[in-house]
């Protein structure tokens, strides 16, 4: 990273911080990237709670065979909304929150390129979430079709389906606007001397993620629009009687859906690439190859989508093509894993909470990657498709992957954001409880899937009982552990110890080297000079 040329501490606070608006209106109208980042992060945590409670309803029903807690229809609604809310409401906004806080600070920019648009990108989200939640209260309830919204089951749903479709439109708008903003910021707002190949890797992963979002979200918008017209205006995109095909929906959805899983994973990779070097006190190993690997993953992610559809009855050439393309993704992802390990190699390691979560990420994400690779082989996937093995796979990459990375990031940057330290002991507790309960919840789901338990069922044959009980217990433990996280963050903000200027010895990006702690409301009104 560029050497420090001069510190730009304590620069002008001449003009009004909050532009004349006070109280709630400050948050509603703000154009400041830090405020907006904070909004994103809190929003995503609230959504994580909501989606998590839904997961607990699912796990409560699955605690024993038979129907005890909810009826099957409501169970399907829970599954659907849990998936949608976690993906679009919790994980994606969390990383956009990180992008907002960090990217301008990391590249030496005064703010995001389009500050007002940034505000809109955020404020679209609560209204989209409201539409989603509202769908529970209309006749027929929320759609019970799975987060993948497969046709033609969607045609049978009630008003809740339409609310969900519009919610997705608005979520998509938010993502596209946010991404355009991020791309523009990174391409156009870097401080002089901050060349692309000197940017912290987090900025690179977001640049590429934003590209994926701009390319993929409009396709999802198209898919749900066709669903809407099939439902109400007599089109037959997904109806064989009119020459369409339900499988067409799946193709369009997964053309979005597979890039989407990397949209979730890449920013997590970015956070990990900041945290591991900092606590290894050693620069990231193979920076350039990390950039190329990220780009390779992004490109490959557009040609593997049909690995979610091996059982629809594609021609054999199609199956083979998608199988080979999918297995290839292991190569660039492997490069990343190897580079992270090589960064730790012969470093000077310490294990504060961010590092613990980063190591937890590395270990468990790789496991999830391996199960993904197992699923990528057509014959095995035909056996395991739509079973709990798949559920286990994607929770390993999304919970132990993306979510753990988000925790690592929060602990890592909280001192910079708030000027306060979190409680290290409690942080370690949070990590170990999460780690243990996560594995209790999801490791056994591999067995369930292998042994033949389908996903999206509210009740199951008796032989699956033991593992389901264990999994449900783990889920409640995992959920409770997250209350500890909330407590730690609130405690740090309200009464945490004052953070030192640079709490992490090995951290070397601009926000640590060129800005005071906590970061001032306006960071780089004039660009820092880098050499």
């Amino acid at each position: 990273m560029s050497a420090v040329a001069d510190h730009v501490h304590g620069h002008g606070h001449a003009h009004d911080h909050h532009g004349g608006y006070r109280g709630v209106m400050r948050w509603i109208t703000t154009t400041n990237h830090k405020d907006i980042g904070t909004l994103y992060l809190w929003f995503s945590f609230v959504m994580f709670m909501v989606g998590g409670v839904m997961a607990l309803v699912i796990r409560a029903e699955l605690f024993s065979p038979g129907l005890q807690v909810v009826d099957p229809d409501f169970f399907n609604q829970m599954t659907t909304m849990h998936g949608l809310i976690m993906v679009f409401g919790a994980i994606m906004p969390a990383f956009v929150g990180f992008a907002n806080w960090q990217i301008p600070m990391m590249i030496g920019a005064p703010d995001m390129a389009f500050a007002r648009l940034n505000n809109w990108s955020f404020w679209l989200l609560p209204f989209a979430a409201l539409l989603l939640i509202l769908s529970f209260f209309v006749p027929g309830g929320a759609p019970g079709v799975g987060w993948t919204l497969y046709a033609p089951l969607t045609v049978q749903m009630g008003i809740g389906m339409d609310l969900t479709i519009f919610a997705i439109h608005i979520l998509g708008m938010s993502s596209i606007l946010g991404s355009i903003n991020i791309i523009t910021t990174i391409l156009n707002m870097r401080a002089p001397g901050m060349t692309l190949m000197k940017m912290p890797l987090f900025c690179w992963t977001w640049l590429i993620t934003a590209y994926l979002l701009v390319a993929a979200m409009p396709v999802l918008a198209g898919a749900v629009t066709m669903t809407l017209t099939d439902r109400h205006f007599g089109t037959t995109f997904f109806n064989a009687a009119g020459g369409g095909d339900p499988v067409l929906y799946q193709h369009i959805f997964w053309f979005f859906g597979h890039p989407e899983v990397y949209i979730i994973a890449l920013p997590a990779f970015g956070v990990i690439s900041q945290v591991i070097p900092a606590f290894s006190r050693k620069p990231l190993f193979g920076y350039a190859s990390m950039v190329y690997a990220t780009a390779a993953i992004a490109i490959l992610s557009f040609i593997v989508w049909a690995h979610h559809m091996y059982t629809v009855g594609m021609p054999v050439t199609g199956q083979l093509f998608f199988m080979y393309a999918t297995t290839l993704i292991a190569v660039p992802t492997g490069v990343k894993v190897f580079n992270w390990v090589a960064t730790m190699w012969r470093g000077s390691l310490t294990f504060e909470t961010p590092m613990l979560f980063a190591i937890g990420f590395l270990f468990l994400f790789t496991m999830g990657g391996f199960t993904g690779l197992v699923l990528s082989l057509v014959p095995i996937d035909i056996q395991l498709h739509d079973t709990y093995y798949v559920v286990a796979h994607f929770h390993y990459v999304m919970v132990a992957g993306a979510l753990f990375a988000a925790f690592a990031g929060v602990y890592f940057w909280l001192p910079k954001w708030t000027g306060r330290m979190y409680d290290e002991t409690l942080g370690k507790w949070h990590f170990w409880l999460s780690m243990i309960f996560f594995n209790i919840t999801f490791f056994v789901q591999h067995f369930l899937g292998l042994a033949g338990m389908p996903r999206r069922i509210p009740d199951y044959p008796l032989m699956f009982e033991t593992w389901n009980k264990i999994s449900s217990i783990g889920a409640f433990g995992f959920g409770l552990s997250q209350l500890l996280f909330l407590y730690i963050v609130l405690k740090a903000i309200r009464s945490g110890e004052k953070a030192p200027e640079k709490p992490w010895e090995g951290a070397d990006s601009l926000e640590w080297t060129h800005l005071p702690t906590p970061a001032p409301y306006h960071s780089f009104e004039t660009a820092p000079v880098l050499k």
């Binding site: 005064p110 389009f114 648009l117 339409d162 523009t184 701009v214 390319a215 009119g242 369409g244």
Partner: protein, 290 residues
């Protein structure tokens, strides 16, 4: 590696970071009301119209005010070269997202033409599910019993192609005039562009009427009707938006806005117009002609 989009000496010291404002939240509320209203209307709940209308009005008001602010800032000289580059990136990526939106519908068109319709007419499917289905494109699918006539390419659609292509030329001439500071010519060619767009839309409306009234070609006419109307419909919607934007630009030109070296709004709209043009070429070839 290149220095990014701007070099240091091109930059002014400060980037323009706008003050807080209420328009975004107003836009969100507007979209929320519109979505809610649309959902109700689609499910035959009359009250939805109220919400839909209120939302639309709020959205219009919000755009009016937001764009108003931006125009004032621009004319007030707030935007330098640095901001200008941001706008260029922003508009380019926005157009890219629009391209991907159309890609989804073109994808659907290719899929039904190349895969699902022929498949439904394959021997197994004909024997077991869809007796007698021929599977020739244009097709409305195996269960569609009425007769319909597909839209011919060499009538109105060909004329429309000419119209849009010429409008691409006129808007380019207008741009050239702006750069040469020949305001009369600028206004004239901008007006011409708008007129060409309006005529295009008029013909499109006529064509739809013709399709419904005489060809028995409807949105519900199976795969052909679905892809035809959704693709041309979304395109028509984009032309409409383009015409509105061009009109705003014309009004601004008449008000004396823009300088030969500072007119990104004009260029952004021109890019958008070219994009709409290119999509039309795709439509003409794959929807009407082949």
């Amino acid at each position: 590696m290149a220095q990014g989009a701007t070099t240091p000496h091109e930059r002014q010291a400060h980037y323009w970071v706008p003050a807080p404002m209420p328009w975004p939240i107003m836009g969100s509320i507007a979209l929320f009301l519109m979505a809610l209203g649309a959902v109700f209307v689609f499910n035959s709940l009359r009250a939805g119209w109220v919400s839909l209308a209120a939302g639309s009005m709020l959205l219009l008001y919000m755009m009016f005010r937001w764009f108003g602010d931006v125009i004032r800032e621009s004319e007030g000289g707030r935007y330098g070269r640095w901001e200008d580059v941001s706008f260029r990136w922003g508009m380019s990526w926005f157009i890219f997202s629009e391209v991907m939106f159309f890609a989804a519908f073109f994808g659907a068109l290719f899929y039904v033409r190349v895969l699902s319709v022929p498949d439904l007419a394959s021997i197994t499917h004909r024997e077991m599910l869809w007796p007698g289905f021929e599977g020739h494109w244009p097709s409305a699918g195996p269960a569609f019993e009425e007769k319909f006539t597909p839209m011919a390419a060499w009538g109105i659609p060909a004329i429309n192609t000419l119209l849009l292509l010429s409008s691409g030329v006129t808007v380019t001439i207008a741009h050239w005039a702006l750069k040469e500071n020949r305001r009369g010519m600028l206004n004239l060619f901008l007006l011409l562009t708008i007129l060409l767009g309006v005529v295009f839309l008029g013909l499109q409306v006529y064509e739809y009427g013709h399709a419904y009234a005489e060809l028995n070609l409807k949105l519900s006419t199976g795969a052909y009707g679905s892809t035809f109307f959704m693709l041309t419909g979304f395109h028509g919607f984009h032309v409409t938006v383009g015409v509105i934007m061009l009109t705003v630009i014309l009004l601004r030109c008449l008000a004396g806005h823009f300088r030969p070296d500072h007119h990104f709004a004009f260029e952004g709209v021109a890019w958008y117009w070219h994009f709409v043009d290119v999509v039309w070429l795709g439509l003409f070839v794959f929807v009407y002609w082949l």
